[in-house]
Amino acid sequence: MAEIDEVNRKITLKLVYYGPAQSGKTTNLMRLHDLLAPDLKGEVMTLETQNDRTLFFDLLPLGFRTPSGWLVKLKLFTVPGQVAHDATRKAVLSRADGVVFVADSQRAQSVNNAEAFQNLEENVQRVGLDFASVPLVVQFNKRDLPEAQILSEEEVRARWAQAPWPLVFSSALIGEGVKETFARLLEQVYPVLDKFCALQESHGVDRQSFVAAVTGG
């Protein structure tokens, strides 16, 4: 849950990129760093990798000042996708204010996607969050791959028709759909955050300006 620091006049949010191994979570973060233009933007901190695979997490800090003079800080994390790192995944997911589930569009990865999604559901419950109400966006990545290799958009939509979460198609490698995914998440996070710390009333930030401030318009 978002952290409110009255002394330093600061609200800190945690957003987590979750998904199976090598679905493009880190790439999403790298592209966001390039694409977004908020007031404040840190560097992507990559904590540790092995053969280009995340061992701990990546972190991208973003932030903006509210008209009331408060700092709203968003910390974007990725989790390690490999099955073995479940304890790390769980720790990173703790206290999350929103989740992007990055799925791999390749047909061959359907089972891994399903397992990772189930793992997300389990871990959300294990860290004490309510899976039904946690803001979540599902992103199907790697749309740049040859059509034969990947599920068609129709297939994906049919499979996820019953699910309540926004569905975004992306190619993180070439930067498509990345910003849109993030914006969709911010739209969902806003009402929860507004309820929690009266963003609109006390800080003069409405939903539209919230998304605009974080993404840089």
Partner: protein, 406 residues
């Protein structure tokens, strides 16, 4: 294992990021870079490193971390470019410190998580172990009860077997006693007739009618009567003695439950057992005793009598119309060897291994408990001995009992 519940993704302040750094060395380096004294202060103005007293009009460079200004580097001697470069260097150091702290705290969190999971597993294992322990105790109790039930049933069957052999014994004894009782009874009726004759003669004698006396004397053939009277009394006494002997023998069986040991010559027990079955085999078989000299041994005679009787009755049952039973005793290798052989129907080879097993019987259901030979084996083993069998179907069977001497 208790670990600080620091969350790895918390916000760090300047003091926390500088904690554990070699601050003296850092101060030296900064002083060199900045050409003299400097101050590193938090946004709140608290001194973290450098000169204690504030400068009058210092140059200032912000120290930023993670989007925020955490403090300032102040110097009165360094130029703006140099101060800004030094501040950048401090920022890099703080960045590395933050990376290290996040990694360390995340590691701690996951270790704690793994440990909690292990504790949970351990608790589950302990619980399961306790369940199995309870189950095992219950099983032991149930086994104990079953064993008790079986032992009771076995005791009852042993008792039944004992009663069955006593029943057979009683039939034999009755036959044996009936015979002398029959002729004693007949002798006594004859004696009553003789006594009546004597009463008539005595009355004539008193009246002095000698002619009549002589006539009656001759008519009653009193010369024969006096001779026969003595003979039939003698015969009856012998018969009564025979009954007395049978009854005395029977006492050997009245104490089958006697648990006191006695020193006996087993030949006496063999003779006794032969006497008991003799009545049953009189017409059917020839009973041959070849008893060698035996040392006296300490044993439970009543129990061994039952063994011999069982083996003899088995032999009798195996015989065809006419047969022969041979009982031999001798000493071999410091053991008493007793052999009871018959030339009866024999035991099929397939059954030989099983005849001592409890409840194994070739008789029809109801005609035997199937425990006779089991009881024999148990009794012999209780005396430290062993029992063996050799048999050929159609040719006969020999049971051999070995008992240790002394």
């Amino acid at each position: 294992m208790e670990l600080d519940p620091h969350t790895f993704d918390r916000e760090f302040d300047l003091a926390e990021l500088l904690a554990g750094m070699p601050l003296a060395r850092m101060a030296q380096i900064l002083a060199t870079l900045l050409d003299g004294e400097f101050r590193l202060v938090t946004v709140g103005g608290q001194l973290m490193l450098g000169r204690a007293e504030p400068f009058a009009q210092p140059g200032r460079a912000a120290i930023r971390h993670d989007l925020e200004t955490l403090g300032h580097l102040e110097s009165a001697s360094a130029g703006e470019a140099r101060l800004s470069a030094a501040a950048g260097m401090v920022e890099l150091v703080l960045q590395l410190s933050a990376r290290y702290r996040m990694a360390a705290d995340l590691h701690t969190e996951t270790v704690q998580e793994d440990y909690a999971a292990l504790q949970h597993q351990l608790a589950a294992l302990k619980e399961s172990e306790a369940r199995y322990k309870t189950l095992s105790e219950e099983l032991e109790e149930r086994v104990r009860q079953q064993v008790e039930t079986l032992e009771t049933a076995q005791r009852q069957l042993y008792q039944a077997e004992k009663l069955a052999s006593i029943g057979q014994l009683a039939a034999g004894v009755a036959h044996e006693i009936n015979n002398p009782i029959g002729f004693i009874r007949s002798n006594l009726s004859t004696a009553q007739q003789y006594v009546r004759n004597l009463e008539r003669l005595a009355a004539l004698m008193k009246a002095g009618d000698m002619a009549q006396f002589q006539a009656v004397w001759n008519e009653a053939d009193m010369a024969f009567v006096t001779e026969d009277f003595a003979a039939l009394l003698g015969e009856s006494v012998a018969g009564a003695d025979r009954v007395a002997k049978i009854v005395a023998d029977l006492k050997g069986f009245s104490n089958v439950d006697q648990t006191e040991e006695e020193i006996v010559n087993l030949n006496d027990n063999l003779r006794f057992a032969c006497n008991v079955v003799a009545g049953q085999i009189k017409d059917k078989a020839e009973l041959v005793l070849e008893l060698g000299g035996l040392p006296r041994i300490l044993c439970l005679p009543g129990h061994l009598n039952q063994v011999f009787l069982n083996l003899l009755l088995n032999a009798v049952q195996s015989l065809p119309d006419q047969g022969r039973i041979k009982v031999c005793s001798d000493v071999l290798n410091n053991e008493i060897r007793i052999r009871i052989s018959d030339n009866g129907c024999g035991i099929p080879e397939g059954n030989l291994d099983r005849i001592f097993d409890p409840f194994f019987t070739t008789h029809e259901v109801g005609s035997g408990t199937g425990l006779g030979l089991t009881v024999c084996r148990d009794i012999v083993q209780a005396h430290g001995g062993r029992i063996g069998v050799e048999s050929k179907a159609g040719a006969g069977t020999t049971f051999t009992v070995y008992l240790p001497i002394g």
